[in-house]
Amino acid sequence: MEHITLLLGIVIVTALVFDFTNGFHDTANAMATTISTGAMRPKAAVAMSAVLNLVGAFLSVEVAKTISGGLINEDGLKTEVIFAALVGAILWNLLTWLVGLPSSSSHALFGGLIGAAVMSAGWSSVNGGTVVTKVLLPALAAPLVAGLAAMLATRLTFRINRNVDEKSTAKGYRAGQIASAGLVSLAHGTNDAQKTMGVITLALVTGGVLAPGSNPPMWVIVSAGVAIALGTYLGGWRIIRTMGKGLTDLTPPQGFAAQTSAATVILASSHLGFSLSTTQSCSGAVMGAGLGRKGGVVRWSTATRMFVAWGLTLPAAALVGAAAELLTKQGDWGVAATAVLLVGGSFAIWLRSRRSPVTHDNVNDVEPVQDEPSGIVTQAMASVAPPPTGAAVASEEADGSPLGSIPAQPGHSSATTEPAARPAKV
């Protein structure tokens, strides 16, 4: 641990903070449906997820050799660039948590790295093709795969259990849901804690403490595992609420189908060499399960906000990362200023969140007032939106029949104002 400069120390602490935000940001992936269907008490769910994340951090011996997976050229990457990238990723994670939207922590880290690297070494340091294959394409594929699988699985399970009393099956679904949520937690700990280990190891290598290509020291593995577990236990209740209650209403069979689909997609994709984002797979699975039940609806207004957040994750984190790198380039005072801004920004976001706290006590309390209008709206939207093809819509418009648009219009505006109104009420 000797020869660690102040800058290196700051980077290590910042990486652990990112790991922590990664933990509470992604609790929802494993536990949102488990909590919303009542399969586990909220506190018990996050505790289990935290333990499994910690275990997962120690499970795999394969260490992330690159932190960006080839997105940027990591040769000669400076320590302060890593710092700037982490600042971008952390601030974006906190901001999306504040508004309760699930977004990929890895994409935030990639974005921060891209922004900081471009500011440091120019556009040539970014591999544009890899951005498409590693970020854009998976972002489209993940919700589709997981959503389709969850939808079909939901249909199937409702078909098989249609003659059976709901009460007698509830316990079984609960057990299944807990098992698949556990798998997701374990996989998350393995993947994401390793990402932080990779970042710290890379920083140690660039800082000259470790020889290139060396494995992370034990203290790095332990601290990364503990940071992600603590974050998970804290629980990103805002995101859990959105995923568990905001996107759709889930019954235990749906929760089970969604969670199983998410676990399968995550494991299959990482095993078959086409990594998909955990967050996007889980969100897609929840929506698919929502659509799979007869009369089930997806709140497209919430889903749209989530899609927008996904699209913004990379560029927004890149912008913050670039700005942070611009500052850290100025020398020691720039690094200090960036650190102060990071702490200040995080504190401001935390203060803002205190105005409408979401905790384990009220995570499942979503006002029925909000449910009713949005239920009608999304039903209307669900019945209008997917089936008509372009031609059908065009002919409807050509007819001049206002029937298609008028009922949707007021409903749509109430749907968009509804999520904004929700936090104020809590």
Binding site: L186, T190, T260
Partner: protein, 73 residues
């Protein structure tokens, strides 16, 4: 920029099949056991339902074990 369509395709296929199969078997297991518990009038069919239910759960447990193996390996 080369997109690994084969990998993407296999992720699609494997995810769909495995998810649907797992959920299907698990539901069959639940239904089998609850039928065995409620329908004690049938005698032999109750035992069959119970055995089938446990078989389905065993398949699911094997899948979970394989999932853990993938994470560890």
């Amino acid at each position: 920029m080369d997109i690994d369509w084969a990998a993407l395709g296999s992720v699609f296929g494997v995810s769909l099949v495995v998810t649907v199969a797992l959920v299907g078997f698990f539901t069959l297991g639940i239904v089998g056991l609850s039928k065995a518990a409620s329908g004690d009038q049938g005698g032999g069919s109750g035992v069959a339902a119970k055995a089938g239910g446990y078989l389905c759960f065993a398949l699911c447990a094997a899948a979970v074990a394989y999932g853990i193996y993938i994470i560890v390996a």
